[in-house]
Symmetry: C2
Subunit: 179 residues, 2 copies
Amino acid sequence: MSESIERLEEAKDKVIGTIAETMDLYGVTPAAANLYATMYFKDQMTLDEMRTELGMSKPSMSTSVRRLQEIKMVKKTFTRGSRKHTYVAEKNFFRSFMAFYCQMWEREAKMNMEAIEEAQEEFIEVIKDSSSTPEIVAEAKSYYDQLEESKTYYRWLENLVESIRSGQIFEFLPKDPQD
Amino acid sequence: MSESIERLEEAKDKVIGTIAETMDLYGVTPAAANLYATMYFKDQMTLDEMRTELGMSKPSMSTSVRRLQEIKMVKKTFTRGSRKHTYVAEKNFFRSFMAFYCQMWEREAKMNMEAIEEAQEEFIEVIKDSSSTPEIVAEAKSYYDQLEESKTYYRWLENLVESIRSGQIFEFLPKDPQD
DNA sequence: AATTATATTAAAAATTTATTTAACACAATT
DNA sequence: AATTGTGTTAAATAAATTTTTAATATAATT
């Protein structure tokens, strides 16, 4: 009997380990990664349960769970009667994927687009500037074109985000293809 | 005249800064991020040029450039006559995107799928085990189903990788949509 | 309103990661 | 074959990040 429990835990831990490992790659701290992977097999958890389960400090759990909320992998739930806050892990990986990458890509596209626009304006100034040597003008033109080209990519990234957010992408790539 | 040069450099640096900043988010070291962003505006570079340009040590440039090669953002080029190795940055962001994410997602799907398969086998053993209590069996069943559900996601991720690698995705989401 | 339970913030400690210096290996040129 | 130039590995240092301990704030219950 207790052997079955052990086996169950062992099997869970195997999955917890790999989920946490991949999350590490996504730039979350080990504490947050382990926490999410642990919560993936739980209905809901309080900060104190997290602490005992992972054997870590409460502030560590507090900051980890906040970070997980930011990337939409954990949600706060209201639990009637309890003073303790309770949290649930997002168990649908499609939703986690969408939230995480859309946020990241949108930010990236926005930031780079802005920098590019500003730089391009500067390059135009240099090109128009009569005190610029022909070599400088040629260089500025070349950079301008290179950046113009790269904008195609960022626009594409924005479109990708939009098609993920709207769910359109699943028309092209079905979640559950019937073969 | 030297004012134009200054302006040119300033504009470049603005873009270099944001590219490096976003790369930081992708889990590359600051040195590698700055290096790639710098190379983005260069035709090709040797290790010594990198060192002088970034003001860093040679081993740092060596390891950074190797990491950038691993994620396919930099390629080694043969330069006739020179003993120095020369490197070029991948300037097509579509190619960088494809290489980076496909590698990452493929690895993630593979690793997690393997762990899931193993865990599921264990859960089946527990379910079949006559010494397991009904509660344990129910728990094992529930976990089994949860993992089975998550496999849909990893299969989808594999399909996404395939459609990016084959270029099929660009039929659905054109690089340069004509409006 | 006071007390208690809970969560968060701030400062300190510990750990990890990135970078450099120094030593080594390799390859090319003389 | 020896020397010089170039790149890489290993150990040590430096820097940054993560985690903890301690203090504080917040909210709920009595």
